[in-house]
């Protein structure tokens, strides 16, 4: 009932105030996802504010990654799932039949848990997204790649070896390369799926710094099971459990004074 009240509150606020709506880059309405008979994501209503970092936390199997992947329709490829409800990107439902999935994925980039550079050169990795989008102009490519690598805080480390194989970079560098690759196609939203889970603390710190820098230009959604990480870098935090959105609020509120007991138990480690 309390959750319903929050959902109602959101819906009301959205309808009441158009300027309020303009603040949001994406929002989901009554989103449900099934894998076969498994109801993985249950009735999620969530609005994602522009130029903010939204962290999604919750125990393993809580549906947070599934939710994230539904935001750029990667669920279509990764695991076959059935979806109900709406996901709006700038007031357009990305699951409408007239929507070009490829275009959606260009607008909503994604960085995966394990860094996955192509077995190509650093240059070609970043150029890939541009090339598949039909850009051939050499000068433009070079400029764009430099810009993206700078945005991903990797330029200084690789500027003199753009032609060397991406797989020779360190784990942290590879992940930043993947971020640069995602940024090159000028997305509007960037989704991060546990981007630091395979990295050491120094590399993690760099990526966290980077994410906070990136929110100036992009809207960011990050799934993490490191709560301190969510606390450090996000503006809003959503707590998922068993496919439900238990609590969604400003990060400082969630981590100092959550309003639900379940949230409190989870973030203080009193779970189970």
């Amino acid at each position: 009932m309390v959750k319903m009240a929050i959902n109602m509150d959101y819906a009301e606020r959205r309808n009441r105030d158009l300027t309020f709506l303009k603040r949001f880059k994406m929002s989901t309405t009554n989103l449900n996802i099934w894998y076969g008979a498994v109801h993985a994501v249950k009735n999620i209503n969530l609005s994602i504010e522009k130029n903010k970092v939204i962290a999604i936390i919750g125990p393993s199997g809580c549906g947070k990654s599934t939710f994230l992947r539904s935001l750029n329709r990667m669920n279509d490829v990764i695991l076959k799932s059935r979806i109900e409800g709406k996901i709006l990107l700038d007031e357009k439902n990305i699951y409408d039949t007239d929507v070009d999935v490829v275009e959606i994925r260009r607008k909503i980039g994604m960085v995966f848990q394990k860094s996955n550079p192509f077995p190509k050169s650093i240059f070609e990795n970043v150029a890939y997204g541009l090339r598949v989008n039909g850009i051939k102009d050499k000068n433009y490519l070079e400029q764009k790649i430099e810009r993206s690598l700078k945005d991903a805080a990797l330029w200084k480390e690789v500027e003199d070896r753009l032609d060397s194989l991406a797989l020779d970079l360190s784990g942290g560098q590879q992940q930043r390369l993947c971020i640069a690759r995602a940024l090159a196609v000028e997305p509007e939203v960037v989704l991060f799926d546990e981007p630091c889970s395979a990295l050491d603390p120094t590399a993690t710190a760099k990526i966290e710094e980077l994410i906070q820098e990136l929110k100036k230009k992009y809207t960011i959604v990050i799934v993490t099971h490191n709560m301190q990480q969510a606390a450090r870098i996000s503006d809003f935090t959503a707590f998922f459990m068993l496919g439900e959105l238990i609590e969604f609020d400003k990060t400082d509120k969630i981590f100092t004074a959550p309003s639900k007991k379940t949230t409190e138990d989870y973030i203080t480690g009193r779970f189970g």
Partner: protein
């Protein structure tokens, strides 16, 4: 404790023995062929036409014929097999139908090769009217090695990590672009390895070309794909079963067998070397 050790000793002894028997068989074959064939093999043998009713001269037309036939087979089977593998792994909805197709492909590999020969005779030689020719024989051999190529191509495609496909799709690439720019370049070495093994098999087969391509004896080299040719395996068969001068023919047959066996071994070696290189380069 002791009983366990004895059991272990016997167990290992049996498997060791099995390995030794296999190695012995392989070396016995090589030994007999080499001993009997090495006398006739020299540069003239490899580079001259046969003459005097196959009792003298070289085997150049058979070597070239085998080369043309396998080339023809691979040109036909490689693109077809790769395309089928792409469809099966990347596009088709994984389900009952695909399972049946996979089983079908596997069974195709088990069909006796003489049946392929008959099929080639009926379809390529007669129905399409290609006659007994390099084309008919090559296509027949192509169908013979198709299952190998499809299998190895599928395996190569499945070896490309999913994360590559996801990364590409997440960057706004279409499925087609993803397959052509990311998946295929990373699978092609594996596909080639499998296909070369297929070539090795095609080069050694007699039955499929028996009715479709092989000439018993020619004094000319073929000048188009519609000519019939001699081929190494069939040449051996002909030398051993036909003709009137067994004394002169048998050593030539062993020489031919030696050439064939080293050709096939060589092709397989190339495949193994390629695979090892490919594995070393792979870092994901």
């Amino acid at each position: 404790m002791r009983l366990r050790k004895i059991k272990e000793f016997i167990g290992f002894g049996i498997v060791r023995l099995a390995t030794i028997i296999i190695l012995l068989a392989l070396f016995a074959i090589l030994y007999f062929i080499v001993i009997r064939g090495i006398k006739v093999v020299n540069w003239q043998f490899l580079s001259q036409m046969p003459h005097s009713g196959m009792t003298a001269g070289g085997i150049l037309p058979a070597i070239l014929g085998t080369f043309y036939l396998t080339m023809c087979a691979i040109c036909f089977a490689f693109p077809l097999g790769v395309a089928a593998a792409i469809y099966l792994t990347e596009y088709a909805k994984q389900g009952k139908l695909i399972r049946i197709i996979r089983i079908g492909v596997s069974n195709l590999a088990g069909v006796p090769s003489v049946v392929f020969g008959l099929f080639g005779l009926a379809v390529f030689v007669k129905f399409f009217g290609f006659g007994i020719s390099i084309l008919s024989g090559g296509l027949t051999l192509g169908i013979l090695i198709l299952p190998t190529i499809i299998r190895s191509s599928e395996e190569a495609l499945l070896l490309v990590p999913h994360s590559f496909r996801w990364a590409s799709l997440a960057l706004g690439a279409s499925k087609w672009q993803t397959i052509f720019k990311v998946v295929l370049p990373n699978a092609v070495s594996g596909m080639l390895t499998g296909s070369i093994l297929g070539i090795g098999r095609a080069a050694g087969e007699t039955a499929p070309i028996l009715f479709t391509a092989a000439a018993f004896y020619t004094t000319k080299l073929p000048c188009s794909i519609f000519n019939e040719v001699q081929a190494l395996p069939y040449h051996i068969y002909a030398l051993m079963t036909e003709g009137v001068h067994p004394k002169a023919q048998v050593p030539i047959a062993y020489g031919t067998a030696l050439v064939l066996i080293f050709l096939v071994l060589g092709i397989n070696c190339i495949a193994i070397i390629m695979r090892n290189r490919f594995r070393r380069r792979q870092k994901w």
